[in-house]
Structure formats: C-alpha cells, structure tokens
Symmetry: C2
Subunit: 583 residues, 2 copies
C-alpha cells in the first residue's frame, strides 16, 4: 500500500481534533499558513474523489493561485506556499537545495505541535478520543498504520503526525490523573526538542561533553539533597525506575559478593532481598532477571497505610538466617505506587546497620519531596541509604524518561559493570577519561535524559520545584477533605495522604446501605472499571483504579501536573458521580 | 549563584557558533526576529556593565523602541518583540495568559534549533569546538553549568540552549564518522519532537494507543524481513542494543530453565554462553548482570576477518559438556562493532540445532542490511535464529534511541518477565488488554521509541532505507579502494569490507620502511590517538580508533550518515595525512 496522494484526515469536524487551526490573534503567520494548507488539502480531496491524477498535477502548478487567494486576507503575510504533496523525505536535507523544504517542513510540524500544546491546556478539549485497537488497526478515515515499500509524500506525513496526536492521549491535560507522570512542562519540552536535535549518546565525554558534565553536576546536587556528605558518591540516569532499582540490586550483590560478576550466582550463598508487599514490582523483576529468583524476594508486611512494619523486617531477616539464607538487600519505598506510602527509613536503616545489609530507597515517586522543606521529613533517614532511585519524570514533572540511580559509594558502579571495551573507552585520549561514564552502565548507548531536567532546574530553581510539589500535595489534601465524609465515598485508608495519592471507593446510590458481603464486594469491584470505561469513552478525564491485597478495585487519584487546579478536582468528583450515579 | 540577568554568550565571533544568525533569504521572519534579540542583548550587556538595574528596568519598557528600530528594515515583518529577560518559566503555560509567552518561547527555541540544523549540514562549520572538562566546568564566557535555588530568566535559558549546542558535537555533520550512529534525519527528528510533545509511556494501550499499535505493526514488519513465517513472534523496543541482548539471554534461560525465574540460578546447572571474541561487550555484561558470571561467557575464535569459526564453536560446546557445564546460548554477531564482520549464521544455526541451543543474532549494527536486496545475503540463516537484536538507530539513521529485541516464539517475553502488577495491568478494562505490553518488559515505564522510526519508514519506504544502506556500503568500498594500495596505509584485514567498517593504520612518513619490531608497534600505537586528538582540537572531522586483540591502535571508519559523499571521504584521508604527516 504505497501512494503519494495525501489521505485526508477525518478530524476536521471533531472538537477534539488537533487538526483544527483556530485563528490566533498572536500568530497570524502560523494561522495563515495553516489556512492555506487546509484549502489546498480540500482541493486535493476533491480531486482525489474525481480520481484525476492529471488534474492533481495541474493543481501543483497552481499553488501560487492558492497563495494569491490567501493574500486577500492580509497582504503582509503573503508568502509562497509549499506544496508538500510533491515533496518527499528525499527532498529534505542533506539533499541538494534541501534547506528550504527542510525548514518549511519543520515549521509545519512545529505548527502542528504548538496547536496540540495549546489544546492540551484547554479544558474544553477532551483528554482522549477513545478507539478500540481493532478500530485503529482497520484505519481511521485515512489514518493507515501499515508500512509500505514506497515512500509517502510529506503531505501525508504531516497528516499522519496530526492523526497520531488526534488519536493519542493528552497526558498534559489538566484532567489527566491516570499516571504518576503527567503534565507537559514547556521548558522540559524545549529541552527534549534540543536533545533530539543534538542526537548524541552519553557514553563518552568525546561525543557528549556538555551533557556528561550536566549529568555529573546534577547527580551531585541530587546527592546533596539526599544528604550524603558533600554530595559525594556516584550515579547515572537510567531508562526508568525499574532499571534504576535493578542497578541497586546489582551493586549490592557486587559489594558483598564481587565474585558473582565473574563466577555467577553459584559463587554466592542463597541470597535474599526484602521489600514491602506494597513496593513496586520492579524489585521482584530484578530478582527474577538477576538470578536471585522471585521466591528469594521476601515481601514485608505493612500497616494499614501501606508502610513497612520494621519489626516484620527484623523477624523475617532472623527467619531467613535461621534457614541458612543470606540476607543481602532491603528496599524501602519512599512513596509507594498505590497508597503513596513512605516506609520508615530511619528505623529500617537501624535494622540494616545491625545486620549489615544494603539499604536501597526506591524514591522513584517520592524522591521529589526532597525538594520541599515542608515535606522532605517524610524521607528522613534517606541519607543513611546505600543507594536511591529518584525519577524526576514523576513528581517533578520532567518529560519522560528521566530516572536516576544514586549511589553513596564512589566507584562501585564501575566496579560492578565495567568490561573495559577498548574500542569505546580508550585510555589514551587527550582529555581526562574519567569523564567517560559509559562503562559504569549496563547499557552501551545511553539516551541523553539529563538536558531537559538540567534546563528545568535552571529555569525554575530549586524553589520552583518546591512550589510545584507543595501545590500538588495541597491539592491532594483538598480532594481528601472534600470526599472523606462525603456521601457515596469510602476511603481506602484513613488519614491525610502522605503523598498526592488519594485512594477511595465510589459507592453508587444503589449500593449505599448494602451490608458488607461477598455480593457487595463483587459489585463494588466492578464499579471503578465501569466508571473508568465511561470516562474514557466520553474522554472527559482519566484516573487510575486497581485492587490491592484483599481490597477490591478502588480509584487511585494522583496529582503531579502543574496545570491542575481545585476546579479540576471538583470536576473529577462531579464526573465520577455523574457517570456512577446509575450503576 | 542565582540571577535573572542574562549572561552574554561568547559565541558571536566564533565561526562554529550556533549562535550566529546569518541573514536567510528564505526565513526573513526568523532572521529579523533573531536580529532584534541580538540588539536587545547587546544593550542589555551594556547596561549590565554599567550595573544599573534601574536603567535595565527602563529598557524593558522600551522594547517597543527596539522593535521600531527593526521595522526600518522591512515593515512587513514588524512585530512586538518579546522581552525574555523579564519572563520566567512560571509565566509559561499553564500560567494564566501563558499561551502567548509559551508560543514565543517555543518559536525562539525552534529558531535556535533550525539554525543549528542548517549549520550541521554545512561543511564550512566545524564538527565540534573542543574544550576540556575543566574548561567547561569553570564556565565558558557566561555558560555556567551550576544549578541554583532561584530561577533564571527565559533569556538566560535561551542563551543556555545556544551554548549547549555550541559546545557539543555535531553528530549529524557529514564529517562525523566517530560512531555507529550518526546523521540527523529530518523526518526522524520531527518524529522525536512529536514524541516528546505527546510525552507518554509505552506500558499500556490505555495511554499510548497509537504508539502501541505502531510498535506492534513495525515489529511484525521487521520479523517478516528476518524471515520468520508470517512475521509471527514477539518483540519490544528497548533502550539500546545492550539491553536487547540482555533480553535474549534472559529469555533463552527462561525457555530452558523456567524455574530460574522463581528459584534463581541455583535451580539450574552451570550454564554457559558462547559469543565471538569480536562480539559486543554487552553479552559479557549480560552474563555478569544476570548471574551467569563472565567466566561462563565463552569467547569464540574468529578468522582474520573477525568472523566466528564454526568448528571452534562446536569444539567449545563439546569441551563445556565434557566439563559438566550446560551450553545454553550462542550469540552470532551480524556486523561486529570494529571489523563489521558477519558471523556465518547458517553454519552456527546447524550447530545450535544439533546441540539444542538458543541462537541469538546480534544485528544491532548489521540488522539494517536486511533492508537491502544487495546485501541481505550477509545475514543468511537469520531466519533460523530464536531471537534478534536490531538497532534502527544505527545503520538506518533513526535518531537515538531505537533498538528492537525480536523473538520467534510468541508469549515467551511475557512468560519470562511478567509479574502481573494489578495496579498497572488490570484485566477488567473495556478494551482487549493483550495490547498492554508493559508486563513483557523488564522496564515499567518505557519511552516511546517507535514513532520516529515508523514515521521514517512511512516517509522513505523500505526502498528508501535500501538506497541509504547501499549508498553507505558503496562509499565504504570507495574508501577501501582509495587507501588499500595507497602509500602510508595498511589495512587491518584484507578484502572488501562486509559492512561500512574500514579498518586501517596510517603510517607517517617517518615510520615508513621501518622494520616490524616492538618499537615500531609502540610508535604506531600512538599515531591514531595523536591524529584523533588533533582532529578534535581543530574540529574538522572525527573518526574512531582502538586496538583489537594483539593489533595496536588503528582507525575504524564507519559510515551511516546519509549526508556523507565521496568528497567527505576524500577530506578525511587528506586530513589524516595533513595531521599525521610530521608525526
């Protein structure tokens, strides 16, 4: 399926369409440009219907006519219109005379993106325009996902860009609460655009001098906030919290049993890892991947708020030792995924010290609170950790992906992972090769995740992150206060949330007063999925739900998007009640 | 160190500066805009020198004066100038009235990026402007990498963006040959800009419907090109070839010893992996990380071209079995990092079949040749592999990162990695949850690496990739023919290169005719690093070097950038001779 004829996008009538180009008083230039294109596309569409390639060819020669037509509106902005239907990727740079079409094409893409950005922040826009997989696969009004042998025109490529955004989910929308990562930070976005333009790799100073130094300085700053003396230590940005957590297990093993690197797990006794039953599943995944086995990842009991009970940790350590196993590693979660719980790090650190265990703090979600003077006490004791995971792409609103693994002991990352590949990390370079960080990683190539974060930190300052975090936590408390005694709501756990997680059941009127029973539990279990499905179909908002332990499906509200206001919280509550009223 | 006063960039006099804004006949709008800003900055600079905040304040009020001054040149493009020195991140969206400054800021960033792109393709621009780490850390003429508590103005943020590009390396420059990944594909770049604007995550269809389907279709297409029946099988995009290779080892282990997932490596006998001594170090890294131990990664001997000798593989399998070890996995490299060698996959597959071993093909670098009818025979037998690594971000010019792990057996990725986290992968959603791919991955969040690749494939077609690959291989042959008998060159191995890798020593005149001796070897070992250092200091070109086995440092030329022409190859040869002549 190959064609150079643009397929029309079906979005023009959709109020959610990223395709609409409303007149903008500020960007007349962009607007006129958009209008001209749309007119051209309509004519193209007409010709397509008439199946006349000859006529289409003539149209290309008459683009100046379109431009002229446009000039009636505002002579100042008249310019030659680019006919993307006769342009292909091969006409762009590095092609001869490719500079002009390249710039026109990129500006057109930017026009699509800036329109999308404006709509993302516009509450009258839907969060998503839901379609089932089979619908998208069958092809939506000209949006064909299949790849072909022959090239498509740039006109079609631009249509595909618009459609990709149209059928996606606006994770930056003020009413998108579905994930720990949400929001669309403009500085971070600019940072990502620059990062992809620079298109380089973190493994050596040689090809990423500025980014390597930015990473080094930023990691040091993060270690200072953790409270390690002078910010000393080590670290890396990794492709997400799961990989960061995996690093922590690897280096703990290397610290206590370095011979595993060369001889494998058979060189070590039966090692066990401890983590809360509320902790992220990546600790178990790491246990499976690294050869410990999930049975040797021992789950710790928590209190009703989802926080590890230190006595349970100690009892399980003693039990494991009695069985002849060797306790190695404890993960304390700072901000659990569902409840937003902070394990008592100090008490856990005491136990780790007593039994000489590696203490890792998974602050993927809660690490951001270190930026807040008001809330950082929730992580008290983190300065005693041996390693910390901290994802700026969650609570701090940095675009995906941005996760750091931070390590207190310098050099251990390299010790654990280096293989000294001569073709990449030559010792005889003209600069100080200790800046070549690649051999510390389990990756070879490593994406530049630092720049957007560095730029955001420059632009906001530490105080900017602090204000953002304090605001999000205030909003959560607002939600908590609003629903804790409201008719039709039950809280999953009592008390003010520690993080922005607010967990609750919505009880439809038909179920209120129903006595607790298996029937009620089963019914309640189906409420959140039903409401969520309706939310997605109507596209008005998105919030997550899940069961946890013996608790049936409940909503988990989280806030990390700076665009959220109290009115959006009110909207969510109204929407849940509207959709759930008749269940 | 916090200030809202813009620090002037030092790049104005530098011909390499991304900061210069030469008049562009095409983009008068952008040009005028740039000029105005520069004039504004110069005045700001003057006021800073005079230390008068009051005067600076008055200037802000007189921005209209600057705009007026500008209008003399071309009244049509007069517009109100944005004063970024008084704007901060907090003034951008979602701030009230933030739309206007947001669009102005993003357009300004795009202006910086498009200028950078133009210069990247301009051969009169340097590849890099080299500085030592300590120089950049000390601060280059206003470019301060340190983070502060207080926010910087957007003016400063824009200066930082320019400086970041100025002191970086132009990996898209036609004379950057340093890495397997090079070039700056405009469609891929547009794809990345869109990806970061969409800012979502691959783990569920729920929040990445379009991207999840694109990944599925593209992986299927790749499996078809590998030659698996009907393109059936499984796969994922992962954060680079090293992680993709790690996946292959994990799933091989799961296939033969599924109980390792729960019980750890102690549930399996002593397992051994086989890979060539020329293979990528990530196989060893995987061996270390996953608990096999590097000693259980057995290196295979190669012929003089760096290709595995199948008889050596069989002998080592037999040897391992005799020692009581259990052979598990063989990695065949399709395009080795240094020599570009293709292991004989068919013969290796015969042996794997005979001994019932998992066959992985690491086609991170060479996989792209599957797109070429002329060159795909080098991967004959790949259809017999159990898994394949293939990095479109290398030979196919897709922006970093874009790496696929492809698996012949459906369902095994999920079997190996799933932990069934209820809070993320709810079975009771309204859509077909088999599209939720997250639990197949060792990651939780997963960056969207597919869109840029999908868009490039749409825009170029399979034929476009084929032409690119054929052209790069032709250019390598051109280089090979040019230097194979040229005075002052010695080839590291004989014969036409299998991939674009051309490996050679340059022998300076002072060493020619010198008999082979330890002294000559030591001297020659220092030649490539010296030439490379001078290249980087002069910024004219970049090419890699390394030792390999008992071979002293030699140059490894690779070509994957579509911007490269014969004239660039000629330039490299001339440059090596110019810089190396007097060594």
């Amino acid at each position: 399926m190959a064609t150079s004829e643009p397929r029309a996008t079906g979005g023009d009538q959709d109020p959610n369409s990223a395709n609409l180009r409303p007149p903008s008083t500020t960007y007349e230039y962009a607007w006129m440009h958009g209008c001209t294109r749309k007119l051209g596309m309509k004519i193209c569409g007409f010709l397509q219907k008439n199946n006349s390639l000859e006529e289409k060819g003539r149209l290309a020669g008459h683009k100046s006519f379109l431009a002229c037509d446009n000039s009636d509106r505002d002579a100042r902005f008249r310019r030659t219109e680019t006919d993307f239907s006769n342009l292909f990727a091969r006409d762009l740079l590095p092609a001869k005379n490719g500079e002009d079409p390249t710039m026109q094409f990129l500006l057109e893409v930017v026009d699509i993106l800036t329109n999308y950005i404006k709509k993302t922040f516009d509450r009258s826009t839907k969060v998503l325009d839901f379609h089932h997989p089979h619908q998208l696969l069958e092809g939506m009004e000209g949006f064909n996902l299949e790849l072909s042998d022959q090239p498509e025109s740039l006109e079609q490529i631009l249509v595909d860009c618009r459609d990709t955004l149209k059928y996606g989910v606006r994770t930056g929308h003020p009413r998108f609460f579905n994930q720990l990562s949400s929001g669309l930070d403009i500085i971070g976005l600019a940072g990502e655009w620059l990062t992809s333009t620079a298109n380089t790799n973190m493994f050596t100073y040689e090809i990423a001098p500025v980014f390597v130094l930015m990473e080094q300085l930023t990691l040091k700053k993060m270690r200072e906030m953790i409270g390690w003396p002078s910010g000393e230590g080590d670290g890396l940005f990794s492709p997400g919290g799961a990989i960061s957590n995996m690093y922590s297990v690897m280096i703990a093993r290397y610290k206590y049993f370095p011979e595993v690197k060369t001889k494998g797990m058979s060189a070590a006794p039966r090692l066990v890892l401890f983590t809360s039953e509320h902790s992220h599943y990546s600790i178990k995944k790491a246990g499976a991947a690294l050869g410990f086995g999930t049975e040797n990842v021992i789950l710790l009991s928590t209190d009703e708020r989802g926080r590890v009970i230190p006595a349970d940790l100690e009892a399980k350590i003693i039990d494991a030792k009695q069985k002849g196993y060797v306790p190695l590693f404890v993960n304390a979660t700072a901000g659990s995924t569902v409840y937003g719980a902070f394990d008592p790090i100090s008490e856990i650190a005491d136990i780790c010290e007593k039994y000489n265990l590696w203490l890792h703090v998974d602050g993927a979600w809660g690490g951001g609170l270190l930026m807040s003077r008001k809330h950082r006490h929730k992580l008290n004791g983190i300065e005693r950790a041996n390693s910390v995971t901290w994802n700026p792409h969650k609570m701090m609103g940095v675009p995906l992906q941005c996760s750091a693994i931070l390590v207190r002991e310098k050099g251990i990352l390299a010790g654990c992972n280096s293989m000294c590949a001569g073709y990449l990390f030559q010792p005889d370079k003209q600069y100080d090769v200790t800046y070549d960080t690649g051999d510390k990683a389990i990756q070879c190539g490593r994406h530049v995740d630092i720049f957007k974060f560095w730029l955001m930190w420059k632009a906001k300052g530490t105080v900017g992150f602090e204000q953002h975090i304090d605001k999000c936590l205030d909003l959560s408390q607002y939600l908590y206060n609003k629903i804790k005694n409201r008719e039709g709501y039950e809280m999953v756990f009592d008390g003010v949330p520690q993080h922005t997680n607010v967990c609750f059941w919505y009880i439809p009127p038909s179920m209120r007063g129903m006595p607790d029973s298996e029937e009620r539990r089963e019914k309640l279990h189906r409420v959140a999925p039903k409401i969520k499905a309706m939310m997605m179909e109507s596209g008005t908002t998105m919030v997550g739900y899940q069961p946890q332990g013996n608790k049936v499906n409940f909503f988990r509200m989280v806030i990390s998007n700076p665009a959220v206001t109290q009115s959006d919280i009110d909207f969510l509550v109204d929407e849940i009640e509207r959709l759930g009223h008749d269940l």
